[in-house]
């Protein structure tokens, strides 16, 4: 039987991952991800899961243990944040280039320096080009649902890629919400067992993994990897539909559109701040602004066509980034969305915003201000070299 509980984001992630019945779990604690490791070890000692678990000595080993386990044929799970993800980078890149469908929750946390603990997706966005699928969610229900969907997407025969489910540290990880937990039988029905055919370390069928490889072959493998990322665009939408049919919830697939249909301007957001942004959109709608919201869910593969379809023909849009792209004087998503627009012929003026770094709150007032600026841009044109910073007075 499905049930309802009050869960924080980390509980939602741990329960979601458990429902997928991973064979091997390895994780190393780091704020704000730590409770996930505690929950999972508790599930194990309570006999609620039968996964093999490794309390590794670092994140480098967490990803390395999973790489080995996945190569042997296990379904796997880990979770990390910021510095832990950075330490993991070497096996992280390799997990994708070996096409291992590992699932990792990333509890987004700002990168140091300065020394910080608080939320922000700088950690995972910085390594968006390491070959993984990256999905960013808004609330705890979406965390739990996407943990389950993640395996279905990653293990799809046309995809076979590792996947990150990313959510904001503290804002979601430590906030409690009503979450519906699907019954194990339903999840089992949704998610068949993982049986790798493309790569496996098995004495019964010996093969070498990663022989020294010539450039022309490396190019073939990269070509196929890129193609798999593009396939994932379809698969993510299909899995979202299948999940909705069986379990009863859809999260929009590649993007979430909020009051976009008749909008003349759009504010683009990602992650937990989207809640405040939607409230700001509602307030502005009351005032007569035809503003809409586009929430990015999938950063890799980047749904450029889908995004351009939403934004094309609008008078102006703004992107609120909770991260920076050093060297561009904007956030990362601003660059990504603009690339998508130019690729698909949508020449719409756009305003870059940066806010909420280091866990700073991005409030409704910030979005009200941002929406005003987007309309100013629509009327007067935009100097897109000038990022607008959304800060809190102290």
């Amino acid at each position: 039987m499905s049930r309802v509980d009050v869960l924080n984001g980390n509980q939602a992630a741990a329960i979601g991952a458990s429902l997928a019945r991973p064979g091997v779990i390895a994780a190393y604690p780091i704020t704000p991800q730590t409770p996930i490791v505690e929950y999972l070890t508790q599930f194990k000692v309570d006999g609620k899961i039968d996964s093999a678990m490794s309390e590794v000595e670092s994140e480098l080993s967490a990803m390395s243990v999973l790489t080995g386990a996945s190569l042997a044929g296990s379904r796997t799970f880990t979770a990390t944040s910021s510095q832990g993800l950075a330490l993991m980078y070497e096996p992280y890149f390799r997990a994708s280039t070996l096409r291992l469908p590992i699932v990792m929750a990333i509890v987004n946390r700002e990168m140091i320096s300065p020394q910080t603990l608080w939320g922000g997706p700088q950690d995972s966005l910085t390594i968006r080009d390491a070959g993984w699928i990256q999905i960013y969610v808004e609330d705890n229900q979406e965390i739990l649902d996407m943990m389950i969907q993640a395996y279905k997407i990653a293990e799809d025969k046309n995809v076979l890629l590792p996947i990150n489910i990313c959510y904001d540290g503290f804002y979601l990880s430590h906030m409690s919400e009503r979450v519906e937990i699907p019954a194990q039988e339903l999840v089992d029905k949704f998610l068949p067992e993982y049986e790798p055919e493309h790569i496996k370390l098995d004495p019964k069928k010996p093969m070498a993994v990663d022989p020294l490889t010539s450039g022309y072959l490396l190019m073939e493998y990269r070509y196929r990897h890129l193609a798999a990322q593009q396939e994932a665009l379809k698969v993510i939408e299909e899995v979202d539909k299948e999940y909705a049919d069986l379990i009863g919830r859809s999260h929009g697939g590649l993007v979430e559109e909020y009051r976009c249909e008749d909008a003349d301007c759009v504010v683009v957001t990602m992650g937990s701040m989207s809640g405040a942004a939607k409230e700001a959109v509602d307030i502005k709608r009351e005032e007569g602004y035809k503003i809409g919201l586009l929430r990015l869910r999938v950063v890799r593969p980047f749904p450029s066509k889908r995004i351009s379809e939403v934004l094309k023909g609008k008078n102006c849009f703004g992107v609120v980034d909770r991260n920076v792209s050093f060297g561009w004087n904007t956030g990362i998503l601003y660059q990504e969305v603009n690339s998508a627009m130019y690729r698909h012929g949508g020449d719409v003026p756009s305003v870059p915003f940066i806010g909420g770094l280091g866990g700073e709150d991005v409030k409704i007032e910030h979005f009200l201000h941002a929406i005003e600026k987007i309309y100013e841009g629509a009327a007067d044109g935009v100097d897109c070299e000038q990022t607008i910073w959304l800060t809190n007075e102290r």
Binding site: R99, H198, D210, P211, L217, E220, Y221
Partner: protein, 88 residues
């Protein structure tokens, strides 16, 4: 793209990769069976396992022998000599 590999990932599953290391040799070890006592020490130390045992006798094979001379050096009976490979 035209693919040479039928795999989607870098795996080696199309047989065993071998180098023709026998061609490296400048000298070859030759066993004097009058002196050999079939102790097997030469075979035990051959890094390439090129000395094999057939009908209770040790014989040197040359397909992969790199001509290192360990067998000559380790033989307790001085029963193996290195002789130059022709043309090298």
């Amino acid at each position: 793209m035209k693919f040479k590999s039928k795999y989607i990932v870098p795996v080696g599953a199309d047989g065993i990769y071998e180098i023709d290391t026998g061609k490296w040799r400048t000298e070859r070890p030759v066993m004097d069976k009058d002196k050999c006592i079939e102790c097997g020490i030469c075979a035990m130390y051959c890094p390439v396992f090129s000395i094999i045992k057939e009908d209770e006798k040790y014989i040197i094979t040359y397909d992969y022998c790199k001509g290192c001379g360990i067998c000559v050096h380790e033989c307790p009976k001085d029963a193996i000599d290195m002789i130059p490979e022709e043309g090298k």
